[in-house]
């Protein structure tokens, strides 16, 4: 049985468009019966710049974490020129707490392929790479199967749907590096080089894959494109939060009764996602903290969640970010020092080692935190921990440095008392900082 998970108690009503509850939708016949590849046909009848305009009007913002307007990004690609142009679809999805793209690979791979083709048409691209994290073995095979079917149905390759448009799609497997989800590392990885981020500028739209203009979009972003073309930008822009509209795949993990990926419009309150969509916290415990957008986003205190919604602006105002909408819920009994130590270990393990602050700082953060976890840290280490995180932030080649620093900084800001309590030299009568 191949059906995406859904939840009956959802408060905000939503009918899935990215992961519709259609049985065996991953099969090309089923997909086409439901109107699949209709958006492609529609797009091919439009001028490329009209497609870009439509995506711009939809206000679609990237789903890979940065929320950059997709249509604007596409418009950065040079219109003419002798160089090849490339599209990279980023499915490296390696951030702890994030597992939404996997659902698209599994349940609706043709939507991704269709979106890729429309993006290629819009930007005049004749070769696209879908980069999938290597650990997604099963989903790589599923997408490969779907792509084969699309090729054999003449939906990819030469003269697509007799439009005269030709584009190739390649699936590229990652080799187990979080850093390759960073767009410039991803390009180096495709080129066969070490997964090191590139210094920007130049930006990929000028100098990207093999030195050619390149656009990199997240899998979920691309999956939204056929929906925009099919239903129109106006419909899309009206879904959810006006400044960050559209359907959103929210991955919920941690202390909830029904973890999983839920498709919903943007702007759903976090508490509704936790209590209605994900079945609430086991044992009706209180919520100590949530990380709203994948492990690199800033932690929020449980008591500060009232009114906070799952969209870019609301979470920004709350002091965090929507990231990849990977919501990690931690109940009142959670050892946050253990949590942040594990997160820090992840970034230490995944730092590529190219630039100094991240290479050295991530390891230092983790080593310091293991002392907190073991109850062997001193009060002075609390300030040191913050200093080390601050010294990484903003000083690195890519965003991994920030991604490693933010969780530590926010955990220290929100839960400084937990750190102080784990020190050996905190005076017993010392007031615990809030």
């Amino acid at each position: 049985m191949m059906l995406p998970p859904s939840h009956p108690d959802q408060a905000t009503k939503w009918e899935n468009v990215i992961l519709p509850p259609t049985k065996d939708l991953h099969k090309i016949d089923v997909y086409r019966q439901g109107g699949g590849y209709g958006a492609l046909k529609k797009a091919l009848a439009m001028k490329p710049e009209e497609v870009i305009e439509e995506v711009k009007r939809s206000n679609l913002r990237g789903r890979g974490g940065a929320c950059f307007p997709t249509g604007l990004k596409w418009s950065f690609m040079p219109k003419a020129g002798t160089k090849a142009k490339y599209l990279c679809v980023n499915g490296d999805e390696s951030e702890p707490g994030t597992f939404k793209d996997r659902q698209i690979f599994e349940f609706n791979p043709h939507l991704l392929i269709e979106g890729t083709l429309i993006a290629c048409w819009a930007m005049g691209i004749t070769a696209a790479y879908i980069y999938i994290r290597g650990e997604y073995g099963k989903w790589i095979r599923m997408l490969e199967r779907a792509l084969e079917d699309a090729y054999s149905n003449r939906l990819v390759g030469e003269n697509i749907l007799d439009s005269g448009f030709t584009t190739q799609i390649y699936i590229h497997k990652g080799a187990g590096a979080y850093i390759c989800g960073e767009e410039s590392s991803l390009m180096n990885s495709i080129e066969g080089d070490r997964g090191y981020p590139r210094v920007k500028p130049p930006f990929p739209a000028q100098v990207g894959l093999w030195g050619c203009p390149t656009t990199i979009n997240n899998v979920e972003t691309i999956a939204n494109v056929p929906v925009i073309i099919e239903r129109g930008a106006a419909w899309y822009a009206g879904v959810g939060s006006p400044k960050h509209p559209g359907p959103l795949l929210v991955g919920v993990s941690g202390h909830v009764n029904q973890p999983g990926v839920y498709e919903m419009p943007t702007g759903v309150p976090l508490l509704e996602i936790i209590h209605k969509w994900s079945g609430g916290v086991p044992g009706h415990k209180g919520i100590k903290a949530v990380i709203p957008g994948g492990s690199s986003t800033m932690v929020l205190r449980g008591e500060a969640l009232e009114g906070v919604r799952m969209d870019a602006d609301s979470l920004k105002a709350a002091g965090s970010s929507v990231g990849t909408a990977g919501l990690i819920v931690m109940d009142e009994d959670t050892d946050l020092i253990a949590v942040i130590t594990r997160i820090a270990k992840f970034y230490y393990h995944e730092s590529c080692g190219q630039c100094t602050p991240c290479r050295e700082g991530t390891g230092w953060l983790w080593k310091l935190l293991t002392r907190f976890e073991a109850g062997e840290a001193r009060m002075s280490d609390v300030a040191l921990l913050m200093d080390v995180a601050n010294n990484i932030e903003g000083n690195t080649i890519c965003a991994l440095g920030d991604a490693a620093a933010w969780p530590v900084q926010s955990m220290l800001r929100q839960f400084r008392d937990e750190f102080e309590r784990r020190t050996v030299d905190r005076p017993d009568d010392a007031p615990v900082s809030a």
Binding site: R194, S351, G353, T356, P357, R359, T362, G394, N395
Partner: protein, 561 residues
């Protein structure tokens, strides 16, 4: 012209240039590890972070191109904090064992630790441990723990040496510099990565752990390995050369030199077999003798022959001053027309970077100052033919082991008199009647002319018996300066060798000609007066960067005896 303001000073900033580039050009130091003017920028060390107005974050000066009106701060509080942070990060896993590190004293990380860090570390955790002695190739060893992953060596191997064998493996603090499987760093320029390395990670198998940097004196010189004449520093301790390193000269060798130049051009200077006195053949054996006796003997022997029974060979290994006096003495005083030299060209052994087929540093110069065939075509071939047929009976040879060539060797036995200048016994001295112990390039002043017609100076770095490091203005190491006369390191052997030009001048005096040269510079001054292409030059003008000769067309014909 666009303008950029750095630390309150405004400079011209041509489009496409980087902040670090403009700053360096105007004498503003922005500290850096990974950036190097000859390598593509990598932007990885983060040491050159500077504050640029209107940019939200600090920017790396090495890869931020200037824009008109840009305002840059290289020493604001924010910049200094970032610098301190980078230094602290670099030092947390770097071994802090400078006292036993080969790089200490010339280590960028050590220097910056004094200059740009707060001088203490808050790191109390365990350092990462990595392999300590990895052979990257025949000449270069790697201490992985010391590596700060700046990638200079990787980029040099890729971009300059065109042997892309170096890479990083692993991630984060576990990153390891290594060679690709089944490859090694064995290109002809491999040792340049040693100076490029800003820390003690890459060391020379030949030199490592032989001396601390401050124990050695460093003297500007020129490599004698080929006609490129790479600019070098000669490093001497206890009157012994321990290493040669390249010295930057954009017109000649940029920042580089080849491994052969480093390893094969100085060992003979130190050799235990060096001649330390003139030799005169007595009853078939070469016996050490005094200089006056050897010189008197040479003159009296030469006088036994008619002018055209005597030939002289200059040397591409000898200085312009030596070659000039050789041809002057033999043409003007002895009166022979037979002056030439043996060329040492290895066809095919050359490349597009530095290495030249001509394996001498000065054949161009020797030719220029008059060591070239006479007006009737009296060249090397005719000299050798004359020796073969007995018409030439006496031969005088500057520093060159001409008998190493079998074709030359087979005729030398015909000679009635062979006088050579040599550094040690060799195939040619086996035939010689008189051998003058010549000082090497490392023991005297002089000039060479490279294949680009670039006149370059070399200076004494190793003292001979007649020299005194302090009194003769040698570059001095701390040991040279502060050691007592009976200290162990003051006892390096000093040979009784002399510059070839001085030996020739002494011969001339005995011949009855007044050669009033006190120094090599006196000889050079005469060259500038008598050889038009040298006109206007002086040791001062040649300096440490060299000067190019006037166009070849202006060369006067060889003087006629």
């Amino acid at each position: 012209m666009p303008k950029v303001t750095i630390d309150g000073r405004t400079f011209d900033a041509p489009a496409g240039r980087t902040i670090i580039d403009i700053a360096a050009q105007n004498g503003i130091e922005i500290p850096h590890f990974c950036w190097h003017p000859k390598l593509t920028p990598a932007g990885n060390c983060r040491m050159c972070l500077v504050e640029v107005e209107k940019m939200p974050k600090l920017a790396i000066a090495c890869m931020t191109t200037v824009a008109d009106g840009m305002v840059v701060q290289t020493a604001s509080e924010k910049v200094l904090n970032a610098r301190h942070a980078v230094m602290e990060f670099l030092l947390i896993n770097h071994p802090l064992d400078c006292p036993i590190c080969d790089e200490a004293g010339e280590c960028k990380l050590q220097d910056y630790a004094y200059k740009y860090s707060i001088g203490e570390s808050r790191f109390e955790e365990d350092k990462v441990h990595k392999p300590k002695r990895v052979e990257l190739g025949p000449n270069v060893l790697l201490d992985v723990e010391r590596c700060i992953m700046c990638s200079r060596c990787v980029r040099f191997s890729d971009e300059i040496a065109h042997q892309p064998v170096l890479t990083f493996t692993q991630r984060g603090t576990h990153v390891v510099l290594t060679t690709f499987p089944d490859t090694q760093l064995d290109n002809r320029y491999s040792m340049n990565v040693i100076e490029l390395c800003p820390v003690g990670a890459l060391t020379s198998r030949d030199f490592r752990f032989k001396a601390r940097v401050w124990e050695m004196s460093s003297t500007d010189s020129v490599c004698t390995g080929c006609a490129r004449g790479c600019n070098t520093n000669v490093w001497v301790r206890n009157n012994e050369i321990l290493r040669l390193t390249p010295r930057h000269n954009e017109e000649v060798n940029s920042y580089w030199m080849c491994d052969d130049g480093r390893l094969k051009t100085f060992k003979h200077v130190n050799a235990a077999e060096r001649l330390s006195a003139p030799l005169v053949r007595k009853e078939g054996q070469l016996m050490e003798t005094g200089w006056d006796e050897a010189i008197a003997k040479a003159v009296s022997e030469l006088r036994l022959f008619r002018k055209n029974e005597i030939a002289a060979l200059g040397s591409g290994f000898s200085s312009n001053e030596d070659n000039y006096l050789l041809q002057k003495f033999f043409r003007e005083t002895v009166g022979t027309r037979l002056v030439d030299l043996v060329e040492h060209v290895v066809e095919g052994d050359q490349d597009d970077l530095l290495i030249r087929a001509d394996k001498t540093p000065n054949t161009t110069g020797a030719r220029e100052v008059g060591v070239r065939p006479g007006p009737a075509g009296e060249d090397l071939a005719s000299i050798l033919q004359g020796v073969r047929d007995g018409s030439i009976k006496a031969l005088y040879v500057l520093e060159d082991d001409i008998a190493a060539d079998p074709a030359v060797r087979e005729v030398l036995g015909n000679l009635e008199l062979l006088i050579v200048h040599a550094h040690q016994r060799n195939a040619t001295t086996e035939f010689a009647d008189i051998v003058f112990a010549a000082s090497t390039f490392a023991e005297r002043n002089g000039t060479f002319v490279n294949f680009q017609r670039h006149v370059q100076r070399f200076r004494p770095a190793v003292a001979t018996q007649e020299q005194d490091r302090a009194l003769d203005g040698f570059n001095m190491s701390r040991w040279d300066k502060f050691a007592a006369h009976n200290d162990r390191w003051g006892r390096g052997s000093r040979r009784d060798a002399r510059p070839s030009w001085r030996i020739l001048a002494a011969l001339a005096v005995v011949y009855g000609v007044k050669y009033r040269y006190q120094t090599a510079e006196d000889v050079f001054r005469e060259i500038t007066e008598r050889v038009p292409t040298f006109k206007g030059m002086s040791y001062l003008a040649v300096g440490s960067r060299g000067r190019t000769l006037a166009a070849a067309g202006t060369t006067a014909p060889a003087p006629v005896a």
